[in-house]
Amino acid sequence: MKVRRWLADRWVMGVALLVLGYLTLPIMVVAGLSFNRPSSRLSYDFNEFTLDNWKQPCATSDMCDAVVRSMQIGLIATVASTILGTLMAFALVRHSFRGRSGLNGLIFLPMATPELVMGTSLLALFVAAGVPQGFWTIVIAHVMFCMSFVVVTVKARLSGMDRRLEEAAMDLYASEWQTFRRITLPLVLPGIVAAALLAFSLSFDDFIITNFNAGTTVTFPMYVWGASQRGIPPQVNVIGTAMFVIALLLVGATSLRGRRARRAALAVVATPAGKP
């Protein structure tokens, strides 16, 4: 029995590691290809090792323009969707109001609707309203689909929060604003930061919705899409690898900061209570 269970344990872990291999293989290939000098523009095979792609990531200037544009769109969409979504999360968790279930539906639906449908329907709206498509229509679309994810993320953090910490602050004569500024905000901040990072990565990586609402504006995913027909410059893999490394570092940093922020907030509550 014991031997069989030992085997069963290892069997599951073995399959899991194989699947993880399947999930990580493409990233390793992307990293590898970033050091590749392809034999021709349309070749996807390894040819020979070079550092040129990393030394001159912007050799194809169109690509770097697209990356910069994606970052601008990502930043604007992140700020707007994080603010709007956080406000909604506060209202949903902290207040009672009429029409809650309808609103929950409105927030949930964008996450359950295929991107294709959201992209085409926005296109239909912009065309019908005579709005020329470009940078700002992309921003509008991104704020729309990022917002629901922000609401869900911040809501989770808010509802898991210990209300007694705020009550304690109020009992100790903190004003509503002071309580919000020194207790609520620091405690919710990791949730807001996580939501903002999620929004940025969703926006930066979006292709389908962007494709329908971009007009002639080219974002990084749209550049890759277009280039896949003409031949991909190897620098695309440099960007892909750099994105991966930066995201990995950010995740590490935020999980550390989250822990520290929580400790800091607890200290704020604890300090006045500790002094008689």
């Binding site: 029995m1 999930l23 959201m118 085409t120 704020v143 300090t271």
Partner: protein, 302 residues
């Protein structure tokens, strides 16, 4: 924590909620207004616009304008013209879903129950693919499945593929790409459910002479149901609407409905047809989701 021991004097008994003054009754609506308005104008209203565009006169064009003729015939016409792509979308995403379940369940189970202190690291490894661009990752599969690549060479050597057999530009490549791209969406909710599974329940089952297989069917599987349902939906909905994998890893013979809708709106500029197909896709997905949720008997997932 010791300093916090002072707090419960006021919080121990259920304190009445703070008295809300007049302005506070308006506050939730003020907080909600900008976000809700944004979603109404840029999510709900476009759907209405898409519905009406799907009923435009198909004889119109973007330059001459479309007349609203309530042309319900757009729907059967579009379906008739693109039935292969439409049904293929659901076929491919269903096969990919089965593959993803076979891979994702053991993975989620192993991370939740067997990983010990490696749990967080393995979780990061599951999400890691999403750290880099979807399109760049999908293009990497072109290299992996390439005719000159090691994988195809190996499969040819062991005669799983004929001497001219290919992986790229076949349905296999598209289904593998779909499975790969949406697998994390299946694994994460499944993990969340399995993480809460008390291993003592499995011990109890085996003490009561249940075989591991029976313990799985009677204990693990039912308890992981909420995660399983959420995960399959999070996988199935985007996979059915995806057309990046079909475009980059397949040929027009593998095109899914997304490819057709993309060309209807952006190349052929046939808005009524594109809108009708978009709506059909959404209706079909909603119908499947609804039936599935009824069958699974859980509504709390949403």
């Amino acid at each position: 924590m010791s300093a916090l021991a002072h707090v419960p004097t006021s919080a121990g008994k259920p304190a009445p909620p703070p008295v809300r003054r007049g302005r506070n009754r308006l506050l939730p609506y003020l907080l909600l207004l900008p976000g809700a308005a944004w979603l109404l104008v840029f999510f709900a209203l476009p759907l209405v616009q898409l519905a009406s565009a799907s009923l435009y006169d198909p004889a119109g064009s973007l330059s001459t304008g479309y007349a609203m003729t309530w042309a319900f015939s757009n729907y059967p016409d579009a379906l008739q013209a693109y039935w292969p792509q439409f049904s293929r979308s659901f076929l491919y995403s269903a096969i990919a879903l089965v593959l993803a379940l076979l891979m994702g369940y053991p993975l989620a189970y192993a991370i939740a129950q067997k990983a010990g202190r490696w749990k967080n690291l393995l979780l990061v490894a599951v999400v890691a693919p999403m750290f880099t661009s979807f399109l760049v990752r999908t293009l990497a599969w072109k290299t992996i499945l390439s005719d000159n690549g090691a994988l195809v060479g190996l499969l040819r050597d062991v005669h799983l593929l004929g001497p001219d057999g290919r992986l790229l530009a076949t349905p296999i490549a598209v289904v593998l790409g779909l499975t790969y791209n949406f697998l994390p969406f299946l694994v994460l909710p499944l993990y969340a459910s399995l993480e809460r599974l008390d291993p003592r329940l499995l011990e109890a089952a085996s003490d009561l002479y249940a075989s591991p297989l029976r313990a799985f069917a009677k204990v693990t599987l039912p308890l992981s149901m909420p995660g399983l349902i959420a995960g399959t939906l999070l996988f199935f909905i985007p996979a059915t609407g995806d057309y990046i994998n079909a475009e980059l890893l397949g040929t027009p013979n593998e095109y899914m409905i997304g490819n057709v809708i993309d060309s209807a709106f952006l190349v052929r500029l046939d808005y009524p047809q594109g809108a009708a197909l978009s709506f059909l896709l959404m209706a079909a997905i909603l119908a499947i989701v609804f039936v599935y949720l009824r069958r699974a008997g859980t509504e709390e997932v949403l």
